[in-house]
Amino acid sequence: MSEPIKVTINGQEFETEKGARLIDVCREQAFNIPSFCYYQDLALQASCRMCLVRIEKMPKLQTSCTITCTDGMIVTTQSPEIEKAQRAMGEFLLANHPLDCPVCDRGGECELQEMIFDWGDVEERFVESKNATPEKFLSPIVANDPQRCILCKRCTRVCDEWMGEDAIEAGNRGVNTVIGTYGGWLDCSQCGNCIEVCPTGTLLDGTFRHETRPWELNNTISTDTYSSDGMQISIGARGDFVHRIAARDRYVDGLNGEFLDVKARFGHGFINHPDRLKTPLIRYKKGGKLIPTTWDEAIHYVANKFKEFGKDIGVIASARLTNESIFTLKRFATEVAGSENYAVSDAYDLSPVFDNLSVPLCTHKEIRHAKTILLIGGEPEEEQTFTAKQIRQAVRNGGAKLIVVHDTPIRLTAQASQFIHVNPNSLDAFALAFADQADDTITKKLGAAASEIDEVLKTIGETTGDFIIMFGRNLSPEAQALIANAAGNFASENRRVLLHPLPLYNNSVGANDMMAGKKSVADVLINSRALLIGGSLSQPAKLTDGYLERKEFIVVQELFATATTAYADVVLPAASFAEVDGTYTNNTGFVQRVRQAIEPIHQAKADWIITSMIAREMGMDFGYNYSATAAFKALADSVPAYAGLRYPHLKDESKPVQAKYQIAGEKDLSKELGELRRRVEAITERSDKIIETPKVGHKLHRLTTMTEKTPQFHLLAHGNPKPENLLVSPMVQFNLDGTPKIAEKAEAASVGDRISDVKRSAGTMIDGKV
């Protein structure tokens, strides 16, 4: 597709590639063409008929979204004829569109509104009455005003092509066509991508409904604080209140375009939640109460106490913190306490991967264009949703082959060309097979036939282009080391091999980078008398509680009171990601900016500031001067993979910067191999494969300290019950535990859409059909 050709647009000649899409070419050359249904990388639709242009030698006006450029094509994008047609389409779209922009949540950022305003001078010729349909709910999170719909079907296409869920579809015919579902209720992962791509106010963010007008929001570009994909988001705040999170504009691309998942988009309720810690707290006596205090007092108290422990201080950082904060915690351990007792609380240790890299990490763009993808364990559709979307599109739109090796038939297997269904907890055995160490006992433990493995190797062998290996967290460290090291063996002249680990937290990779030489959490817990914990521990309580109880002094930097703060002697209120500047490193090694959207809530401070305040009080000045820029500079100067990076280099997320990881090359892994063999041999053979496909959202909708602060997540976590009345928000029809509130109450709480209105307009919903 790279043959250069010439096309003439509005009398000017341009060079482009053969097969380039005309609408894109025109737009690149700043001839703006209005469109609604066209959406890059989604199936073509050509239904809105907005993008009409005149092409010489072709009858009729043509839709530029469907035309691929050929040499010598002569195109006109602006003429009275075209303007008439485009105005006409605008007029048609407005015919049944309620002109309720003043009360529409999309008002101000609606593509239809924008287009009509741009044309200006629109005369209303439609005097008949409109086909009215009232506003309703499709789920606790998706509000729906069907009458505003222009049927561009971006929503149904993203649901199908991005999410692979097919949850929302078009029903009925002709002018009665509606976007919806069977039964009217949306039982899906609630990613909200349909809301995002909707050009009008038809699908609306149920958590944002009627909160504020879009133009009153201050939008700050930042990075998602949930998933390791590092999706780019836009935090919309008014004053010091975060009202919503949306994706970045698809034309000013972050790596994820308009894609986000349910947590990234809707899980922001925690930021301004009333439960946020307001002041520093000290528990003067073990067993006593946490008592509010001032920062001065708290820092002074902590520093004095810590001085008693010296090397016996252990430091644990959460993988949710920014690189700056984790780096500062590590410095605290090494430079202030003089101890090697530091750890990341993420149970999944990435160092076996990064220490044995034989090939580079891949980017999400490379996943989209990969030829073969091997997924070993993991569940990207629940944890790394953007990775999952890229996989689906690679398969659907790019014809890539997906091989899934898993003990559970996860939903992605629907896209797979090969699924090796292995025994529960036997993925380690596959690592051996992958490293060409398979034998009969191993395939037996694996519960797969040798021929299945041969087929994998055959598919890889036939791949020209990119071959990507992804693996989840259910592999032992040795297995990961082995895979990371063996990957290079598959590279050849026309095959590039790339690696894509699937860690859980937004900054798992950064935490691994920042804490070189880290210990395990258990080691730190055992070898310390006092603890400084940034963020709470994510290990199950049964593993940590016994230790925490016995520590002499524990300081926790946190947003909320948690199971960990229950053991703390001092709790210091930390600022959330929306309140700080910093960086996260995602699972492709991109170092991306976190930007301050609002002032820290109450008395909260950034984690790295808190840590440096303690250090300074103990006589060590890290020299950051409370500037995130300086903290990052110090970090970059100390961590080799980040050498030379500065904030200005990270300014433009459409060109993300990858940390430079050392490629290890051939390595002797006989020790790991031996250990792994022993492990695999110890696996008990079994024949009870897991046959149930996990339900959509079983991880995404789980309530956590953060997501539980968004009320809608409670209904999702309780099975997303369908309310009796779809016109009233489910949030007033159910208690948070999913039990219905009594009917009268639900009705009394409904605003606006009175039942009598409903009856009147009911006839229009039923499509004239019997």
């Binding site: 050509a46 239904s47 008929r49 009409l52 009729k60 048609f92 015919a95 049927l151 066509t177």
Partner: protein
């Protein structure tokens, strides 16, 4: 109802009057399946060339040369190839395919098999509109008979040519007559038309090369093999070969299916003599010659004008052959009412995919309702013409154009029917029982 040929020997209608004409026995007694045998001795290219020479133009409405369509199929493609018979017949005023299938089902099967042989296809589907359930039963029976006689299925007539013929049902959607929408529907989806290119001949059913042909087109194929392409063409004119079925309905004394040679002269004689003339005591007001989607003609465009009944002749007369649904109306018909009726049809049948057709037809129906109930304004004529112009040529498929033409023709050619409404001098009473769709 009349079913007969005029001005030529009956070809399409050769067997329809025979008793049990739908059975294999009667069909074979009348040379049935002989032409399949003959075709199977020819080379595929030779068959296609005969069809090309015959200048057979698609009888479904678009009039695209059938031989040319067949030659677009990439013969060396490794994919399965499909022959799909378009028996969706939903164009208002059209009912010829129905009688062909009812009385001569084997002719259709034979035509499909010849097409399949010429195009190296092993599977044929007959997509019949869902309302024609009894025809599907007739076809199924005929297919079974043919299968029992080794005319359908494996190794047909002992050769190495195998071909299956299946029936498939629609479920009430005019748009599924559009060939790409038909394929979507045949795949079990909503009947939305698809983008062209790729044309079905290259990427049709199941993304494989597919030929979609009308029933009458396919039943003509055995005749072409029988007579030879040139001889068949010479029944008609140079550019419009062969004979054509016209479904005549409305205010004539003898409505029915008539087979006329292409180029039959003239339309006036056809209406006034062959169809028995206008019902007693009334006069011709207009004719919609090619199914509801074409321009309506006024009586004065027909009377004394010697309109030739073929593709060129009707274009010259300001209309189209379309599907040959010949609707004759007398002076009792109010054109505003009849146009409203057709607009409602297009609104109901618009698939809803593209903006101009979906919103435009809905809006037009609203305007017609307003006008009919006394809310007409003088500027409405211009408004309607402008809306129609905004649909025509901008819609995704030809249904939008069809709706536009039906309205354009009426309003341009019968202003005297519209003016009283637009000047507020006339209303129609609102029907008592019929709720609008």
């Amino acid at each position: 109802m009349e079913i007969k040929a005029i001005g030529c020997e009956p070809l399409q209608l050769k067997r329809v009057h025979l008793e049990n004409s739908h059975t294999l026995k009667v069909y074979q007694e009348n040379d049935g399946y002989k032409w399949l045998r003959k075709a199977m001795d020819m080379s595929p290219d030779a068959i296609i060339n005969e069809v090309k020479a015959s200048v057979l133009r698609g009888r479904g409405g678009a009039g695209f040369p059938t031989g040319m369509k067949w030659s677009f199929v990439p013969k060396d493609s490794p994919k399965q190839k499909y022959i799909v018979c378009n028996a969706d017949e939903s164009e208002p005023g059209t009912f010829k395919d129905r009688y062909l299938m009812e009385r001569d089902p084997h002719a259709l099967i034979e035509g499909m098999l010849i097409a399949a042989f010429a195009l190296n296809s092993q599977t044929c589907y007959i997509y019949t509109r869902g309302e024609y359930r009894y025809l599907i039963d007739i076809m199924d029976e005929a297919i079974e008979e043919a299968r029992a006689a080794n005319l359908v299925g494996k190794n047909i007539l002992g050769s190495d040519f195998s071909c299956e013929v299946y029936t498939h049902t629609g479920a009430g959607a005019y748009i599924c007559g559009e060939e790409t929408a038909l394929l979507s529907s045949l795949e079990g989806y909503r009947g939305h038309p698809r983008m062209k290119p790729p044309f079905p001949a290259v990427e049709g059913l199941y993304a494989s090369p597919t030929v979609v042909n009308n029933v009458e087109t396919l039943t003509a194929v055995p005749q072409i093999i029988e007579m030879g392409g040139v001889a068949w063409r010479d029944l008609g004119t140079e550019k419009s070969g062969g004979t054509k079925l016209w479904s005549v309905s409305g205010h004539v004394k003898k409505p029915g299916v008539y087979e006329l040679p292409m180029g039959y002269a003239d339309m006036e004689r056809f209406i006034m003599e062959d169809c028995g003339g206008i019902r007693n005591g009334h006069n011709l007001k207009g004719v919609i010659p090619g199914g509801s989607s074409v321009y309506i003609m006024r009586a004065d465009d027909v009377i004394g004008k010697k309109v030739l009944m073929d593709y060129e002749g009707l274009v010259a007369a300001g209309s189209l052959v379309g599907s040959g649904g010949f609707i004759v109306i007398d002076e009792t018909v109010d054109i505003v009412d009849s146009t409203k009726n057709l607009t409602e049809f297009y609104k109901h049948e618009s698939c809803g995919w593209c903006t101009p057709c979906r919103e435009g037809t809905d809006w037009l129906v609203k305007i017609f309702n307003r006008i009919a109930s006394g809310g007409g304004r003088p500027e409405d004529a211009q408004l309607i013409l402008d809306l129609v112009d905004n649909i025509e040529g901008k819609s995704f498929c030809a249904l939008g154009d069809a709706a536009a033409w039906a309205i354009q023709g009426a309003i341009k050619r019968f202003p005297e029917d519209f003016m009283p409404y637009l000047n507020g001098e006339k209303t129609t009473s609102i029907e008592p029982k019929a709720k609008t769709v």
